[in-house]
Symmetry: C2
């Protein structure tokens, strides 16, 4: 065996923007040009995907990849595969926002500080842009230059995470529960599906690409479950504590629409307490992974501390 060289962890304040830049360059490359036919559709797809965003899901792919690599230096094929996986989860996330913002769903007009896609274009174009981003995500995974069996595993994982028993199912439960009070268990189940499933898939995709051992995968799964929930709890807190300008989307909307949230169920202090417990759970799950999981730990902190 070659000696394992542990590279010093790069400062998160440097690491995160570099990964954001990396996935955005790839997204720009993967999305068809706005002058390719049909232009209006491609324009809308680019508007939806390239309009900013925290890129937390892409960061999770890269960080989980770093944490799972068998040797300190990833093979270049693994690096390329991580890029494709990061692109895939960001494409799916963008599509889900476009559809969630439509009038028949949340009817939102503001996203990332700009008009939502159906406001900027039109409803039909927004729906079709979302519909076309989804297969582009699977195509991106299909391009990963790693063992085909791992590619298939990655595609299965993403497909399940975003289907009727994952992301879209959570959205459906959310729609059905407007104006009703959900028990904390039901609320948790809804969020695990709606937001948690894709966040968890992002972490596990990084692990699959990097050939994570079963011990590492177990740690990643526990970590992913904790940060998946933490993300939603933080979102619910921000909905009541932040203003619209900072959020880049309409603040106070959940309360206005009488949507069940962690804050409405636990109160603001209770929600904050839960958030910190989840961060501790996430960090504890990473212990068996050692220092290579440093950026995953930093992302857990980032999710808890974020102000938008």
């Amino acid at each position: 065996m070659s000696p394992q060289v542990v590279t010093p962890a790069i400062d998160f304040q440097v690491w995160l923007p570099s990964k954001v830049q990396q996935v955005e360059a790839m997204l720009d490359h993967v999305l068809p040009a706005a002058d390719a036919v049909p232009g209006r559709l491609h324009d809308a797809m680019r508007y939806a995907v390239l309009g900013g965003g925290k890129r937390v899901r892409a960061a999770l792919v890269y960080a989980a990849g770093e944490a799972s690599l068998q040797s300190a230096a990833a093979a270049s094929s693994q690096q390329i595969a991580l890029d494709h996986a990061a692109v895939a989860v960001e494409l799916v996330h963008a599509y889900s926002l476009v559809h969630d913002d439509l009038p028949c769903m949340d009817d939102d007009t503001l996203r990332r500080g700009r008009p939502t896609v159906h406001v900027q274009f039109d409803e039909a174009t927004a729906m079709l842009a979302g519909d076309a981003l989804q297969p582009l995500a699977f195509e991106s995974l299909g391009l990963m230059p790693i063992a085909p069996a791992l590619v298939v595993q990655a595609i299965q994982l993403l497909a399940r995470a975003i289907g009727s028993q994952g992301m879209v199912g959570g959205q459906a439960i959310d729609c059905e529960s407007v104006g009703r009070t959900l028990e904390q268990d039901a609320l948790q189940q809804m969020h695990r599906m709606k937001t948690g499933a894709l966040l968890e898939a992002s972490v596990l995709l990084g692990g699959i690409v990097a050939g994570a051992s079963s011990i590492v995968r177990e740690g990643l799964e526990k970590y992913a479950a904790a940060i998946g929930l933490a993300f939603q709890v933080a979102d619910d807190i921000l909905d009541v504590t932040a203003d619209t300008a900072t959020l880049g989307k309409t603040a106070g909307k959940d309360a206005m629409e009488n949507k069940p949230t962690y804050v409405s169920t636990l109160g603001l202090d209770g929600a904050r307490e839960l958030l910190h417990e989840l961060r501790d759970d996430a960090r504890a799950a990473l212990l068996p992974l050692g220092p290579s999981a440093a950026q995953l730990a930093n992302i857990a902190d980032f999710i808890v501390m974020r102000d938008r």
Copy 2:
């Protein structure tokens, strides 16, 4: 080499219903039960997929599989893979109909003789049902028990066929062209994407699963291009010659909305002439494949003669 036994072609009138039954049993099995959470979403997905339909795309998968097999008897793993591929294309087709029927698109209230999904349920549920059928299609392909490299190839093929430069792109061009006159070239390009891309993918998926040789694939591609267009020409003719009860969807809608069609561009006689030319092209493309392509030839006839 073992001697090649050519089984006599089964009568198409027996073959087609047996394949329809086969894929419908698989679809029923693959779709989550209506009592699985979220029930309303699963109910809508089942309503969208299991409500009849000609199952032409599934039939193309099976027929292309039969035509491409290296020996007369397919391995059972190939048979199972063809089932999964047939399920995938029918799920995609069903999702595309649900979204096309939405008020922001074609605003149709009748499909296969029943209320459309958003009429039977609601708009949000219809959109989410379509959104969830799409990943289920990719999951189904991912389950094919054949070489993983072929699975990845199949997934890439489907993803490209239904993206912004395939099915969804064609739909976007169709939306943009309402009330305008398209040149025949532009009309053909739109239909190649909107309807042809998934029909062609169905044929090629059957070939991939069955390990088609390059000569066979070439024949399949030419066949697929011809029947892809033929299908749309037949649709346009039926829109003006059939009544709503026979079609199971609103007849005369294209003309009413001033949509460009083959009939509006070529006239009824010109469209019928083109349809028969395309059938001849399709049959000619099958010649190198020999008698195993009998059902593909029959499907070409079926597309030309259908009355709904």
